[in-house]
Amino acid sequence: MEIRHGLTPYRRAAPALVGGLVAIGAIFGFFATRAASSGPTSAEVQAAASSAASTLAARSEVDSQLLATASASINGDPAEGDARVLARLDRLASNDRTVGVARVTPSGTVPVVVAAPDSSAATIVGTDLAGTADARLVLELARDGDQSAAVVTTGSDGKPVVIDALPLYGTPDPPSDIGGRRSALRGYVVTVTPVAALVGLSTGRDEDIAVRVLDGATVLVAQGRDLSNPPASPVAESVTANGVPFIVQAWATPSPSALPWVVLAVGLALAVAVAVIVYFRERSAAAAQADLVARNEELALIARAGPLLQQSLAMGELLPVFVVEVGAELALDGISVSLATPSGDLEPVFSLATRAGTPTPVPASLVAPPTSVRSGEVVTVPLQRAGRVVGVLQARAVTGLTEPQMETLLGVCALLAAAIGNVRMFQDEQDMVARLRDIDSMKTSFIGSVSHELRTSVTAIQGFAALLEANPGIDAEHRADYLERIARNARSLAALIEDLLDFARFERVGLTVDLHPVDLSDLVPTIVDQLSSVLGGRAVSTVIEPNVTALADPQAIERVLANLLSNASKYTPPDSKVIVGLERTPMEAVLYVDDDGPGIAPDEREKIFELFYRSDSTARTSRGVGIGLALVRQLVVHLNGTIDVEDARGGGARFRVTIPLAEHEEISLQHPEPARTPLGTGG
């Protein structure tokens, strides 16, 4: 069962294995992405440098043509009105270039840009082209040589710009000599181009390549990251544009990419997540499997319990085996089983000592069993059969009971209840068989007793009659004796027949009594008087308390007395004394018959009232068939009274009958009308 709360080695290792695999993948991803982002090749760097240089050269060529075209469009004369110049230049300007015209001011030699075609270039209007000595020199060289000249300066946005200037002399054909040119100079047509545009750096070149353009040692423009740390020997291209020599440098600046780290971090996080998910999945799978195993074991327990409980019909054999098996399977301690007694109490019949040594107490009341039990709690399960509680099983759940375990416990308890029912049924059956056997043996003995009784009396009557008949001359004394013996045996037969008739009547319709107040003080002596003959010459005396009136039936009282006196005569010597007494207690009339015979052994004082019962000694010593006393008891019960036998004062037996006094009539009348009660159940 340890599997229940843990993982198997495989299941324990699974999260680490799966997580490890994913982590290895993440590390691979890290190196792969880092290799993939190592930056441009040297060829790409070279290509970038060449591209920038050629773009620079090409654009400077375009510039020259542009300047010539612009010059031609205004016939080399910037003197025209600004509007007319602008209209002409407007058609020439392109997006990345500004075309303008500078006029030489009257005051001197300083050409100032006076017109530009679009507003975006308006800031260059007013720019002094000869603001610096270098610029002045370049412009003078251009004037004197009738050729375009370029100067690099800082634009209005602070970024370097290249200004190309073509001298304008006021005529389509420039003067042929330097002096003429100097005097004829009217101004310049200019293009202003950002250096970046000139080298085409703004066209989205690979950002992992840094490119810069140098004018001598001066960096004109640069693009790319990490420009502050150029390598010692970058790829360099020299190019001359508009007569200005530029150097284009390029080098690789691979970006410090975060991707590999992202891949690694995400990968590791994924590995941890996967490991956690796998761990919980495996744990839940292990728990499910453990549950399944436990459930199977519990089902197996139920399956085992059935045959186990069928093995025996003896409670003492069933319970120990069952309790040990169930206790071991469901981790129960101190199991006790109590069974319901016929009076409804619970009586402990078996308990397995707790580890603490204290037995579990029998519950005072029963409640429905819980659906689950916490660790260490005591669980009580009623054992029910056919809707009746036949017992209770109690136990302490050492590790608690889950719902399925509780269901299992209820299942096996249902089987136990059924088994208990079977055991009881079997016991009842055994008891019934024993009872029937007893009754059968009593009937056999009864038939023997009746036969003996009949044979003895009939033999005596026949014998004495034959004697008298054969000897007519017999003397008077013997004759009287024989006749008396004939008469007594005839009475004995009559009494026996009366008993048999009583029995038959009782068996057929039950006893009926007619209860009303009867003055026993008056009735009892009368009956005793009439019955004295059944005592066979034994002396009878009466001890009667006056005015004892009971709720009774005179006929029933007579039958009771007749049987008790007949009983006294059967079991006492012929010279015995018999006393009939009547007393009263606060509630009852007490009628007793004492004799001085051998008395009744204590262990027979109950049995003698059973139908057909004859003790071994009485069966051999006396006449009788075992009906009289059983009949007496039934009569007394119907009179709402009691009968028992005790030792008489003189040493013999006292049969003591109690009957409710008539004063307590209201209590007595509540006794239900006697139904037919078989005599045999009186025992």
């Binding site: 036969s451 003996h452 044979r455 014998g463 004495f464 013996r485 012929p574 051999r620």
Partner: protein
């Protein structure tokens, strides 16, 4: 003559003495124990022994007597004479078993089985 019933004793004695065939009742007893004592006192030629008696049955008394005197003549007299009683009586050495009933046959039985 042994019988627990007073009527039977009186009847048997009357029948035997009335028959007056030379038979005489020398003693009687009401149970087995008494029978053995009386037998020792009187030394009768034949014992007429009832089977069903208190304390000690006729067969038990016969066994005790025959153990002491194997050739004592005993006639068992009983209301119930079944095969089992016959067999036991025969094994013990009892001369005859006579059913209770017709008392007039008793003197004849005593002559027949009670003398050599």
């Amino acid at each position: 003559m042994v019988d627990d019933e007073s009527d039977m004793r009186v009847l048997l004695e009357a029948v035997i003495e009335t028959a007056n065939e030379g038979l005489r009742v020398v003693g009687n007893a009401t149970n087995g124990m008494e029978a053995i004592e009386r037998w020792r006192e009187t030394g009768p030629d034949v014992i007429l022994l009832d089977q069903q008696m208190p304390q000690m049955s006729g067969l038990e008394a016969a066994a005790a007597i025959l153990a002491e005197k194997p050739d004592q003549r005993i006639i068992l007299h009983s209301a119930f004479l079944d095969a089992d009683t016959h067999r036991k009586a025969s094994e013990l050495g009892i001369r005859a078993c006579v059913p209770k009933g017709d008392m007039t046959r008793i003197p004849e039985a005593l002559w027949r089985f009670g003398t050599d």
